[in-house]
Symmetry: C2
Subunit: 197 residues, 2 copies
């Protein structure tokens, strides 16, 4: 029906997370109708990002340099490493602007169903990092899902032989959350982890 290049563009856009065939068509038309403001800048940026962005050899974050801007930052505490599953989790932590240590991106979580074992994640890389003796604390910031917690326990097992403190970010009621809307699992976790007031 349509021109084949436009069709390809729509198909590619439709496969972006959050978009479907309808929004893919809208996005494609938006790009075509705004070539100078939109299509060309996007094409250029994709070129730059595609050619130069890579994983930081040290922590797994994305940057154009071999060591990322966080690993290169002397003001950050390199003895405190926050372990996250994916780069988006690292970004989420950074948006909160409350963590001044460095990161380690695992590249996923253990999942028997999806066939993701320890060898598919950057776990040995983390152990090697611990062996250098520069890390004092490892903060595990994995999702509070079955896979996240399985991975957390596996990590604790692997790390326990080293002289490193391992902590986990707290589970409980989200700030701004209402008790009435909380699921049983969260209420149970929040109750168990209650703190003196």
């Amino acid at each position: 029906m349509q021109n084949k290049d436009i069709k390809t563009l729509i198909q590619l856009l439709s496969r972006l997370p959050g978009l479907g065939p309808r929004s893919g068509r809208r996005a494609a038309l938006h790009l075509i109708k705004n070539k100078d403001q939109f299509l060309n800048p996007l094409r250029e940026t994709l070129g730059i990002v595609g050619d130069s962005v890579r994983q930081c050899a040290f922590c797994g974050n994305l940057d154009t340099t071999e060591k990322c801007y966080i690993c290169l930052d002397d003001k950050r505490d390199h003895s405190c490493v926050c372990v996250v599953a994916e780069v988006e989790d690292l970004w989420a932590m950074e948006r909160a602007q409350v963590f001044s240590g460095t990161y380690h991106v695992l590249g996923g979580t253990l999942s028997a169903i999806d066939g993701i074992g320890p060898d598919k994640l950057a776990i040995q890389h983390l152990i090697n990092h611990i062996k250098t003796g520069t890390i004092k604390e490892i903060i595990i910031a994995l999702s509070a899902t079955l896979e996240g917690q399985t991975t957390a326990h596996y990590l604790v097992d692997r790390i326990q032989d080293f002289d490193v403190q391992v902590t986990r970010i707290a589970h409980g009621m989200p700030v701004g959350g209402e008790l009435d809307y909380l699921d049983e699992g969260t209420i149970s976790a929040a109750l168990k982890a209650r703190t003196p007031l």
Copy 2:
């Protein structure tokens, strides 16, 4: 916080219709993590589309050729022209696969609020096309909104001096629609346009 090129990519993606900051971030990561399957094909396709797709000089549809695939198709009825507001409307008509004539894309609808007068739409172009004497019927397929109907009436005014039949697609109950859920305007239109059974 992030690398500036990744930031630019996120910003550009966030501005696509249907996406916001959160889905823009997800889309950017999806692209970066799947360079070969996704980022590079998208970049290439944007290049091709950006360089070669343009409006058909005849009807306003988008294609890489000067005359689009519809205008070039001898099997289509060139004496019956369907007037639509935007290219997306033309695509919607084509998806229905029930129209075998050709199109004329106005490029919008008249809107006093947005300052869109007849000179900003491809109306004179349509009149010139009518003057060639090849058109027998003009089907107006504009949205059933205030702007769409204002534009339809304006077109009828402009076309009435020519020997061309002007029709409008029917307004009524959408197929699959339930009477109970219809707004008063649609019920009124459907009742007025009732047909013998």
